[in-house]
Symmetry: C2
Subunit: 196 residues, 2 copies
């Protein structure tokens, strides 16, 4: 059938509906393993709408990853804002990781997984994953500088390595505690030459 009775015709809503569904499905089952038809079915959209909005499957994947990355960093910013100091905001990240790792459908960082699946280094997924990591570094670096740490750039990279390492190990081992192990190392990094 054409358009459901009572539906508001809203191109922007259609686009968002597709993105929300593709975010979940691509994350759960992989990008190569899921066809456009399945996304359309799950989003209660037509393939025509997908190709009209995103041009190709690659375009849909790119838009989905951008959407995902934005949501992650929004969640990060909102969930750390309450902490009082830069040091606390950074350590809070590792508590958030633990919560994330404990969720049933967790199996790694969507951005990194997408880049791993699309091995070609010049691809869109790798570029977006790189931007994703850079946003992490920017966040960490800002908080470190704000807290008065010297070598904010070096320490931000150290913390990012801990974050990504904990994510990978936790996903492979199904062991959320990797977040706590990483947190202890982070506390050590933040412990010395500290803080305002």
């Amino acid at each position: 059938m054409p358009v459901k009775v009572g539906d508001t015709i809203d191109p922007e809503a259609t686009r968002r509906r597709i993105l929300k569904v593709s975010e979940r499905i691509f994350y759960d089952r992989g990008i190569g393993a899921v066809g456009v038809a399945e996304i359309a079915r799950a989003a209660v959209a037509s393939k025509a709408s997908i190709y009209k909005n995103f041009g190709s499957k690659e375009g849909l994947v790119e838009a989905t990853l951008e959407y995902r990355s934005g949501r992650v960093h929004e969640w990060l910013a909102n969930s750390t804002a309450a902490a009082e100091s830069g040091r606390d905001r950074i350590l809070r990240v590792f508590d958030l990781l633990l919560e994330w790792f404990q969720s049933d459908d967790f199996h790694g960082c969507a951005m990194v997984s997408a880049a791993a699946e699309e091995r070609v280094t010049g691809g869109a997924a790798t570029r977006l994953a790189r931007q994703h990591l850079q946003k992490y570094r920017d966040f960490l670096s800002t908080e470190l500088a704000h807290a008065g740490f010297p070598d904010a750039s070096e320490r931000a990279q150290q913390l990012l390595i801990l974050i990504e390492g904990a994510t990978t190990v936790s996903a492979i081992d199904h062991d959320p505690a990797a977040a706590q192990v990483a947190r202890r190392v982070a506390a050590q990094i933040l412990g010395q030459a500290h803080a305002t």
Copy 2:
């Protein structure tokens, strides 16, 4: 044609030839993105030989990942054996990571990438990746205990998180220096409550 003139008929050699080729191709281009026919062509083998030896593409992937994991840990053991202390053998791992990250075709840990591509948590790739990480932990834990560190298990997990995090970040950013950043954190972990 059937068999090349002058070739020795050696089933074991055929199997190894296929594995060597599939290791490289699967790592370079991904598992889902490469067909069995291409592996056969590159290995100068027939699809029949592949299916006779491995039963299915999944069987080939599984054998390839086992082969890969074995080679990595062999290389790790051989390349660290010369160091004098357990502490040095562990830090040497991070020097080896730097070398690895600097190679042109590096783009992450093959085991982790395979597990990321096959999202289903019960799959063979995830199981093999888990064994791969466990072998890392066993190595680190043994060296830590041998060097007289307390909490060898906790520290081994910390170091593994650094190793995997550096691998991921370096692959995404094309920045081999992540190995050196991780090494500095490792030295910090190994620095206190030290060593024999």
